[in-house]
């Protein structure tokens, strides 16, 4: 297969999954720069395994798992790098600034405040709890999809999800978001 054909085959296989993979990278890293690094690394790695990729029935699931494994291998570095910078060390993500808001300004203000408090609460969860609650309750992953991604039994995923929600509830009540 020529180089051009390789590239075309690769693009055809991976492009349909870009949005989902990019979102997963964000949910894993919580930061744009590192999400983009992770996304890029995944594509480079996947391109090197094109021969394998073409034979896989569900490339999206496979790509997600490869991304997750890449993140786990490099998590120490990601976490430490975040801790070394003043601007980013105080929060797990890039916060809510600059993100698309809601049309209604009156509702928007109150909602943005709640979302800011949610953002702060999420940053205090463990990586595992934050990832599971965001994938399930925000991204709409099924429990079995999370099981397949992170490699733990469904029962464990479910109990972590419940603990994560309970912890979030505690923090949001304590911050006055909910009475």
């Amino acid at each position: 297969m020529s180089s051009v054909n390789h590239q075309q085959t690769f693009e055809k296989l991976v492009r349909p999954h870009f949005d989902r993979l990019y979102r997963l990278a964000w949910r894993l890293t919580g930061q744009k720069a590192e999400a983009e690094d992770l996304f890029q690394e995944l594509l480079i790695k996947a391109y090197g395994k094109l021969d394998k990729l073409v034979k896989i029935d569900e490339p999206g699931s496979w790509l997600s798992r490869v991304m997750y494994n890449l993140f786990i291998d490099e998590r120490r570095r990601f976490a430490r790098r975040r801790m070394q910078t003043v601007e980013e060390g105080e929060m797990s993500g890039e916060g809510l600034a600059g993100l698309p808001g809601i049309e209604n300004p009156a509702r928007d203000y109150a909602r943005q405040e709640q979302l800011a408090k949610l953002d702060a609460a999420l940053s205090k969860l463990s990586d595992e709890h934050r990832l599971i609650v965001l994938l399930h309750d925000n991204e709409g992953y099924k429990l079995t999809e999370i099981q397949e991604l992170i490699g733990v039994p469904v029962g464990t995923v479910k109990s972590r999800l419940h603990r994560a929600r309970a912890r979030l509830r505690e923090m949001l009540v304590a911050s006055g978001t909910f009475s």
Binding site: D37, L43, V133, L134, N138
Partner: protein, 182 residues
């Protein structure tokens, strides 16, 4: 007003949290970003397939140097002197066009708490660290190859030199890279 049924309160809070989580925002990548990522992947992937050990540009230079340093530092006593290589490796970047540079650290043994410092000239920024001329972080090295991709962007046409210093205990070594802007 509080209800008198704690379970109802709990259920209501759970519903509110779920609704809030559904609204939790997510930045979208542009189509241009995806196009660029794809191009970089196919180029970089091809290069890596051609050469498993040495990366391009800065990565190649740093990789070669650190392989020598780490083997010298941990297998030989006293440590070997740095190689006398008068040439400074260089790369050419395009203004305002991000470029990922891969630092490759090959270590003969696992190292905890190594410190890596990257110093940038004015007009070269590291993605995620806007305006910072010096970025330091602690890292661990596994036995074998360790890859650290750094995404750089040139914001002025001046160029200059990038310094990367890796330290562990009282040992360390600095590498230089000349950056020209096209």
């Amino acid at each position: 007003m509080q209800t008198e049924n704690p379970k109802t309160d709990l259920d209501k809070q759970d519903q509110e949290i779920l609704a809030l989580l559904k609204d939790y925002p997510m930045p979208q990548a542009s189509a241009a970003y995806f196009d660029q990522a794809l191009v970089r992947a196919t180029h970089e992937g091809s290069r890596r397939q051609r050469n498993h050990w040495l990366m391009t540009g800065f990565g190649s230079a740093i990789a070669a140097g650190l392989v020598l340093w780490l083997i010298g530092g941990f297998f030989l006593t006293p440590p070997a002197l740095p190689l006398a290589d008068p040439s400074i490796p260089g790369i050419t970047m395009t203004l305002e066009e991000p470029r990922t540079i891969n630092l490759v650290f090959a270590s003969a043994e696992a190292l905890d708490a190594a410190t890596l410092t990257v110093r940038l000239p004015a007009g070269i920024e590291m993605s995620g660290f806007p305006g910072q001329r010096e970025v330091t972080w602690e890292t661990s090295l596994k036995t074998g190859k360790n890859l650290l991709p750094l995404k750089l962007i040139a914001t002025s046409p001046v160029g200059g030199e990038i310094f990367a210093t890796l330290k562990h205990d009282d040992r360390g070594r600095t590498f230089r890279l000349r950056v020209d802007i096209s």
